[in-house]
């Protein structure tokens, strides 16, 4: 009971304190707001770049060309062996007849050339279109498929895919690094702002100590105050992220420049981003207050 009374008092007092020291609170809130907006932009960019990267990665396919004269038993055998490999996400068989039909349907020129070919003399090869679970394993999987009997050749955009993978890897690392660096910088920036505001309340802390408040008694209201500052400071960034991202998504119809670059669907993305923003706001607010008040707790 006593614990809850003390907790209740702390929450009430810290809430009051935010408004009683409003000019100082405003400095901390503005600092949280500005940095969270930057963090929010970084998160939106990072996730969209990563989403774009993984969309492309998902589209990369190993085209497995089978021997021209392969029998249906041998095709089944190849299928079994592909199926038994690691890192296979999906595979699809396309017979030479189907490929010929598709090609003829797609162009008159093809149609004129290919219409008289019978199955035996057609140079078209039946294929297995294989997708892998992990793009980094694509060359390993392709090599294994190449060694299967009756497989004529494999193609998956060698060289280009490896380059793409390494570029995406770099982008991913840079963006994650940026977000982490931003969060750390924010935490220290906010901590310093709160430190200045708390410095002006040294007297309050001194009085608390004189009337017999323990270090915990003194720290807790300030930490709650940091929590409130964090929550208040994240209101504008969350609103901007939510409405801004929905507006952006609608304006570009969910894609930028080409249908390949799809934006992430706003829902539930904006909920997660808002959640992350408020958590960062609270964490840096509390950390900042705790770090700032600690300095003034000498006897």
């Amino acid at each position: 009971m006593k614990f809850f009374r003390i907790l209740g008092r702390n929450i009430r007092d810290s809430f009051k304190s935010v408004f009683r020291n409003f000019a100082l609170s405003l400095a901390s809130i503005s600092c949280i707001t500005i940095t969270l907006i930057v963090v929010s932009i970084a998160i939106v960019l990072t996730y969209n770049v990563n989403n774009f990267a993984s969309n492309i990665e998902r589209d990369v396919t190993i085209v497995t060309f089978l021997d021209v004269d392969i029998t249906s038993e041998e095709t089944d055998d190849v299928e079994d062996q592909i199926n038994a490999l690691d890192y296979i996400e999906t595979y699809r068989y396309e017979s030479k007849i189907k490929i010929s039909e598709d090609m003829m349907a797609s162009s008159e020129v093809f149609k004129n050339i290919m219409k008289d070919w019978d199955e035996a003399e057609s140079p078209i090869q039946s294929t297995f279109l294989v997708k892998v679970t992990d793009i980094e394993k694509i060359s390993e999987v392709a090599d294994k498929i190449r060694n299967i009997e009756n497989v004529n050749s494999v193609k998956y955009g060698e060289g280009m895919v490896e380059q793409l993978v390494s570029v995406f890897e770099v982008i991913k690392n840079i963006s994650i690094g940026t977000v982490i660096a931003l969060i750390v910088v924010t935490a220290f920036l906010i901590s310093n702002t709160i430190k200045i505001t708390i410095f002006s309340r040294k007297r309050e802390i001194e009085i608390m100590r004189l009337v017999g408040a323990s270090n915990i008694n003194i720290k807790i209201p300030f930490i709650f105050e940091g929590l409130f500052l964090g929550i208040i400071g994240s209101v504008i960034p969350i609103t901007l992220t939510t409405y801004g991202y929905i507006a952006l998504f609608n304006k570009f119809d969910g894609q930028i420049f080409s249908p390949f670059i799809r934006l992430i669907e706003p829902i539930p993305f904006i909920y997660y981003t808002s959640g992350v923003l408020i958590l960062i706001g609270i964490a840096v607010g509390m950390f900042g207050s705790w770090r700032a008040v600690k300095k003034h707790l000498n006897v």
Binding site: R9, N21, L210, V211, G212
Partner: protein
């Protein structure tokens, strides 16, 4: 206090080999010229400063052995009043006094009755909702006294509580302190105001250059011609 010595890092020694015994319920004045060690003595009582050597015992508790993190336990047993009042200007009179009780997690009704009782004792019951800046110096000091005694400390330490006040207001404050003393609280008061000291006829400790120059029993200082 036994053989208490206090030297600062800069080489200045504020107190030399101080021995002092104060009885329960006493009212004593500590006087002396500026720099004689009065403030250091008082700061050591509420453990703002630690003696370089010697022991200070308050109600059986050795103050010198308390760790920094546990000082609050001592402070809950003593009340301290300062020359500059040390009030929270953004809180009203009631909140300033209640503050000292709220940290203990007492129920609201108990806090209310205790706060109103001490505000009555210091004559500020009707000003509970006013803010310190709306009060006179004497009234602010009474709020500070109310806050210092609200949790029933056995000892009240006063560091020049009348230093910022005129003669009449100072006497009003002294009356309040005498009332509190009558209720059983030991009062140790540092002051420059020899007029007050003579009028009240209490025990007086005269400090000079960090040593007890004279310990006047009750009433004897009044005859002193300085």
């Amino acid at each position: 206090m036994r053989n208490v010595k206090k030297s600062y890092k800069n080489g200045v020694t504020a107190l030399y080999d101080l021995n002092l015994k104060i009885e329960k319920g006493e009212f004593i004045f500590v006087i002396g010229s500026t720099g004689c060690g009065k403030s250091t003595l008082i700061k050591m009582l509420y453990r703002q400063e630690k003696p370089t050597s010697g022991n200070i015992e308050i109600g059986g508790l050795d103050v010198t052995k308390i760790r920094n993190g546990k000082v609050y336990k001592l402070r809950r047993k003593i009340g301290v009043v300062f020359q500059d009042f040390k009030l929270l200007n953004k809180s009203n009179v009631y909140e300033n006094v209640a503050f000292a009780l709220e940290i203990f997690g007492l129920p609201k009704s108990e806090i209310h009755s205790k706060v109103m009782k001490v505000l009555d004792l210091v004559g500020l019951k009707n000003k509970a909702r006013q803010y310190p800046t709306e009060l006179s110096g004497g009234e602010q000091q009474r709020v500070a006294i109310a806050r210092a005694i609200v949790n029933g400390p056995k000892i009240l330490i006063c560091d020049e509580p009348t230093g910022n006040l005129d003669q009449t207001t100072s006497m009003e404050i002294m009356k309040v302190l005498e009332e509190i003393n009558k209720l059983g609280t030991t009062i140790i008061m540092v002051t420059h105001d020899t007029g007050i000291v003579k009028k009240l006829k209490k025990r007086v400790i005269l400090l000079d250059a960090g040593r007890v120059l004279k310990d006047y029993p009750e009433g004897e200082y009044a005859h002193e011609v300085l």
